[in-house]
Amino acid sequence: MDFDLSDDQRMIKDSVERLIADRYGFESRRALMRNPEGWSREMWAQMAELGLLGVAFDEAHGGFGGGPVETMLIAEAFGRGLVVEPYFATVVLGAGLIRRAGSADQQAAYLPQVASGELLLAFAHHERHARNDLAHVAATATEQDGVWTITGEKSLVLHGDTADKVIVSARVAGETTDHNGIGLFVVDAVGLNRRGYATQDGQRAAEIAFDATPAEAVLSLDGFPAIAATVDAAIAFVCAEAVGGMAEMHSSTVDYMKTRKQFGRAIGEFQVLQHRAVDMFVNLEQSRSMALYATMMAEEPDAAERARAISSAKVAIGRNGRAVGQEAIQLHGGIAMTMEYKVGHYFKRMTMIEKLFGDTEHHLAKVAQAGGAL
């Protein structure tokens, strides 16, 4: 095992961390979010410029040829900045599906546009009664004269309101929860019936209705393996993002404890509070380890092994993120209950990550059913 970064990786880490430090301070972030779309196209262009959007793509697709480690470095920095641009929706989910399910031609057609920042994607998959079942797809796709059309309703589509194209899962065969028979289609978003809204953590999402909507491309007629692999990689991404957020909450808490005075001394002098800050640190380190583990396993070809590792990481991150977030607020006192203070925003992001792609209970059950985590 080698935990040291290569020169190239260090370069990426430095450049994304610099971007966050320079452009993503608490006040700057607010300004970015005041854009009508809830995020900044100018920032997006800058991310493209720095090569962040194509970091994991082949060089032939305008990418950097990186892998999960490079992506993790970006995720952690984004977690520190609470980035609101649609990286997760476009690059991790959308492009991830195209890379895993698309033909060579399709990859060549779409990925360079993603890398250059011209094309925004979203993954329209979740449906109202799916809860945590990734195979729950009731929307249908039918073919007539070589054209596939899609009918059904998709929900909680991250950044679905601004996507140029949407990758949609729709059933081509089987029952609603079958793993087989799920197609993956690319649909042009122009003219789609979509209702966008903000989420609790300052991101964006949409409800999208398809009514005999034509697809512009078919990525796969048996898409579940690609969906599962992409979602696992996405979970690895949010685990790393959560580590960035937890690290920020922890350092803010420790700094605050050193400066906030009550009863004539810094509250950090109360040993009972020191121990709780130490527990936060332990939780943070455990999370960091599990995010690395998730990164290591994100591209594991054995789907069952991969899923077990990813679920384990999701459980650890979900629990630790909750504990660290709650403690960060409690140890700050009232100040952390306000919108003006950054800690509450990390707490909200942690909370939403815990519910994303299966909550802690769901992943714990998966690990238990798979025979345990070891």
Binding site: R195, Y197, E207, K261, K348, D359
Partner: protein, 400 residues
């Protein structure tokens, strides 16, 4: 020892339950049930209904509209009200400033303020905390200086809950700069319309506006607005905080949250079944309920001690109620998040929720689950944080 309620007590409980369900409009109770905020008009309407029936301020002296109830009756009144999702009579009026005025203020003050406080003709808010004085309240720096027959107040209060609606604020201010910190504080009643007062909203992480900063810049109030004696304000503040000895567990509220969780979990589909039938979920719910049952029994024991304790004297056991009660209220918000699942994500302002024509996204109460989880983190911070409560218990009960 007889651990059951008497027939009279049970009859009283039924009477309260009936009244709350029939007299308080469903339109208001529904909001609390679904986790929405009730408006200030709802608060006023409810309190006036209660007051007309003589049960807005049962804890006050009978001469001022209180009831000659036993501690068990007070407990039942509160528990039934909370379970019926009735907005509780405004705490600043009924549990805080009212009892202080009734105990320490002049006859003239009592006549002037108490009936209006009971009927919510005056809306009071609490001006205790300051940016530099939270847990260490006695370090407060707002000053009141005597100038002829007026006090001149300067300083800043913060976290002033619902101060945006308030007609009056009760303020702790330093009146003797030389004295030891607890000894130079006075308790003043201030009309919010007095020139020099500025109220600025503080937005909380759930997006709501319930707290404010209140600034005092050369605010002149009549000398007669001092409660009791000059420099004795700390004693009155302790009386005020010690008064709410059993209510702080808010068990009825946790019960009503759990009832709602059960209702919604019965609708939520998981695969072929319902969430409420999932063994894991039921166990999680049951374990919170067991803790709540234990707390309810603990509360009854504290209620029973009430008879033997002097009024306004803090009972350290109330710290047990605060710690456990806040943890359980917070646990209910996490259970609700489990029920709602991924649909906790969409964010809507309350205005959007109330005036919307579009269908809600996800299950019922989806839009309030996360804001409530976020907002209720405050319960272990305010009213003496859980750390401060542990300090109290360590000292007063364990003798450290």
């Amino acid at each position: 020892m007889d651990l059951s309620f008497t027939a009279e007590e049970r009859a009283f409980r039924d009477e309260m339950r009936d009244f709350f369900h029939t007299a308080i409009p469903e339109r208001i109770r529904r909001k609390l049930r679904e986790g929405l905020h009730h408006s200030n008009d709802d608060q006023i309407e409810t309190q006036r209904i209660l007051n007309a029936r003589g049960i807005a301020v049962p804890n006050w002296p009978v001469a001022w509209g209180g009831q000659d109830w036993s501690p068990v009756q007070i407990y039942m009144w509160q528990d039934e009200m909370q379970q019926a999702c009735v907005p509780f009579p405004l705490a600043f009026n009924c549990s805080m400033v009212g009892p202080v005025i009734a105990e320490f203020a002049t006859e003239e003050h009592k006549q002037r303020f108490l009936p209006r406080a009971a009927n919510l003709d005056d809306w009071w808010c609490q001006g205790f905390s300051e940016p530099g004085a939270g847990s260490d309240l006695a370090s407060l720096r707002t000053t009141a200086v005597r100038d002829g027959d007026e006090w001149v107040i300067n300083g800043q209060k913060t976290w002033t809950t619902l101060g945006q609606y308030a007609d009056w604020i009760f303020v702790l201010a330093r009146t003797d700069m030389a004295a030891k910190k607890q000894e130079g504080i006075s308790f003043l009643l201030v009309d919010m319309k007095t020139p020099g007062i500025t109220v600025r909203p503080i937005q909380t992480i759930d997006g709501g506006h319930e707290v404010n900063e209140v600034w005092f810049d050369e605010v002149r109030v009549p000398a007669g607005n001092l409660v009791g004696q000059e420099n004795k304000g700390w004693d009155y503040a302790k009386f005020l905080l010690g008064n709410e000895r059993t209510g702080i567990a808010r068990i009825g509220i946790s019960k009503s949250r759990i009832k709602r969780i059960r209702e919604l979990a019965a609708f939520e589909r998981v695969g072929e079944g319902r969430l409420i039938d999932e063994p894991k979920f039921r166990e999680k719910l049951a374990s919170v309920e067991i803790d709540l049952k234990a707390l309810e029994m603990t509360q009854m024991r504290v209620v029973a001690q009430e008879r033997t304790l002097p009024r306004g004297k803090p009972n350290p056991m109330s710290s047990v109620l605060k710690i456990k009660g806040s943890e359980l209220q917070q646990a209910t918000t996490e259970l609700m998040m489990d029920v709602i699942g991924p649909y906790v994500a969409p964010f809507f302002t309350e205005e959007e929720l109330e005036g919307r024509n579009e269908p809600p996204i996800g299950p019922d109460d989806a839009a309030t689950a996360a804001p409530m989880y976020f907002n209720w983190r405050k319960i272990s911070i305010y009213g003496g944080s859980n750390e401060i409560q542990r300090n109290i218990l360590a000292k007063a009960v364990l003798g450290f």
